[in-house]
Symmetry: C2
Subunit: 298 residues, 2 copies
């Protein structure tokens, strides 16, 4: 099977896992459950759950224990998109060609259902304890939970989001941009791969290597996003282009130009794959996924 | 020591625990940490952490294991107030005589720092695993975590909030009001007392009794709120009165009148204390606290 077919097949498997963890739309709070499911089912690459699963497999872990974390990570990621789209933040009416959550369910429900997704992610992750068969597996679940919450919060994605919002439209230093990319984008990529590694049974040293690789992958992913915003067409990308320029956003491209930015993407992804290969664990699909990700056209 | 002095002393102890868990205001995301601390340090009765601690003590548990859960519960409660005050929800400029979080830090930071508090609550609760000395204690932490997340989310406080928001200003059935009170108000009271009981080593049967008592306490607490909105003065209450009438809000008072509502408060609190006393565990302070709570004048 070639990589694209394999990717499609695995994405479908992940969709099924994700759906199995969504709340039922019933009872008085039915609308909240509908709003939660609406945002999660809007589609997407399902990259983060895929990274959890494949990194877990790389270390010889069982898929089963990774499932709740995969669903939870996609809920955490989705919650951040729902809030990003709110009028007080980016004020976006459309995402992936569909109306954003607050446009369908109102702003109050946009806020509340976003939070409910984040909280539900924890409810789902905590069910992993019921799947853990021994003390060793429970210890892994505890470690993975800690990583997930740390990378999501003040010292991870939410912290990065806050600095991004606070400095919207202002000129930014390279140091600040790095902080924002490292947290707003890389943190959940790191959290995904680290949680996968931990659940798969990786040692602390191996988890540290995975974190470093994931950090590079996240950064390369974000710089590639900046590049595509300049070089791609709206048709290719499926969303408006030149948005960074319009919003006077400081990006890697505005800081160092397209050529150097592209060079950095190539270097970062090469280094990340080298780090992962250096662990002497096999997962060709994961390595190809990383390479394809950073060289992507959309 | 009389009850009021004892209450004051214990509230101060809880403030100290809470402060010890707050994030440091440093680094790029300093403003987010400041906004989080600003809302938590706005004051309040600290009722929920007090219920965790006292219920834990009632079952002979150690204070130490309860501490992270106490701090976390107050963060969860505070996050719900921060979001409730947002322009898209209740649009309140003041709470407890201070500007609300979004009035000081802007609406985007109001949304994000509220979420960050919720997520930080989980980070804090997960540190309880480091305090748990054996497998038995870790099992209690897992159970308490599950209760906290369940009572916070779609099937608890957030679900109640969503139905309240969705039906704002509309006439509501008694059934729907019960659902809202049970979830928006009682759920966190239940979560607090159940988590305390679990951490203290209560059996599943005992936890079920505690849940039932807490449900009654939460309902009585909310009905008393409705009554005070009609019978109290703004000076006594420290916030505007007759707000329910102005907002055309259906409450227990509009549904059944003040007299019957007051009667129900008395019955509910009496029943709750009876349930707790029936467990044959001692904690006079907790029993008095419950009685004082529901008969309160503010």
């Amino acid at each position: 099977m070639n990589f694209q077919d394999e990717l499609k097949k695995r994405t479908e498997e992940i969709e099924a896992v994700l759906k199995s963890y969504l709340p039922r739309e019933e009872g008085f709070a039915k609308t909240m459950a509908q709003a939660m499911n609406y945002s999660v089912l809007a589609g997407g690459k399902r990259l983060r759950p895929m990274l959890i699963l494949e990194t877990c497999r790389m270390f010889g872990g069982e898929d089963k224990l990774a499932y709740p974390f995969m669903a939870a990570m996609e809920m955490i990621h989705t919650h951040s998109l729902v809030h990003d789209d709110l009028p007080a933040l980016d004020n976006d009416d459309y995402r992936r060609g569909r109306l954003t959550t607050h446009k369908v369910y109102g702003e109050a429900m946009g806020v509340l259902s976003g939070v409910a997704l984040l909280n539900y992610a924890y409810e789902v992750m905590l069910t992993a304890f019921d799947l853990a068969e021994d003390e060793k597996a429970r210890a892994r679940v505890i470690k993975a939970l800690k990583v997930m919450s740390h990378k999501t919060g003040l010292y991870g994605m939410l912290g990065g989001q806050s600095v991004d919002v606070e400095n919207d439209g202002k000129p930014m230093s390279r140091e600040m941009i790095n902080y924002i990319y490292e947290n707003k984008t890389s943190a959940l990529i790191e959290g995904s791969m680290m949680a996968g590694a931990i659940l798969g049974g990786a040692s602390a040293e191996e988890v540290a290597v995975v974190e470093k690789a994931a950090s590079g992958i996240g950064l390369a992913f974000q710089i590639q996003d900046d590049i595509l915003d300049v070089t791609s067409t709206a048709e290719e990308l499926g969303k408006p282009i030149h948005s960074d320029e319009k919003n006077h956003k400081t990006t890697y491209v505005t800081l160092m130009g397209i050529e150097k930015a592209s060079q950095q993407v190539a270097e970062l992804s090469e280094e990340a794959v080298k780090l992962l290969e250096g662990l002497n664990k096999k997962n060709e699909f994961l390595f190809t996924l990383v390479k394809e990700l950073v060289g992507r056209r959309k």
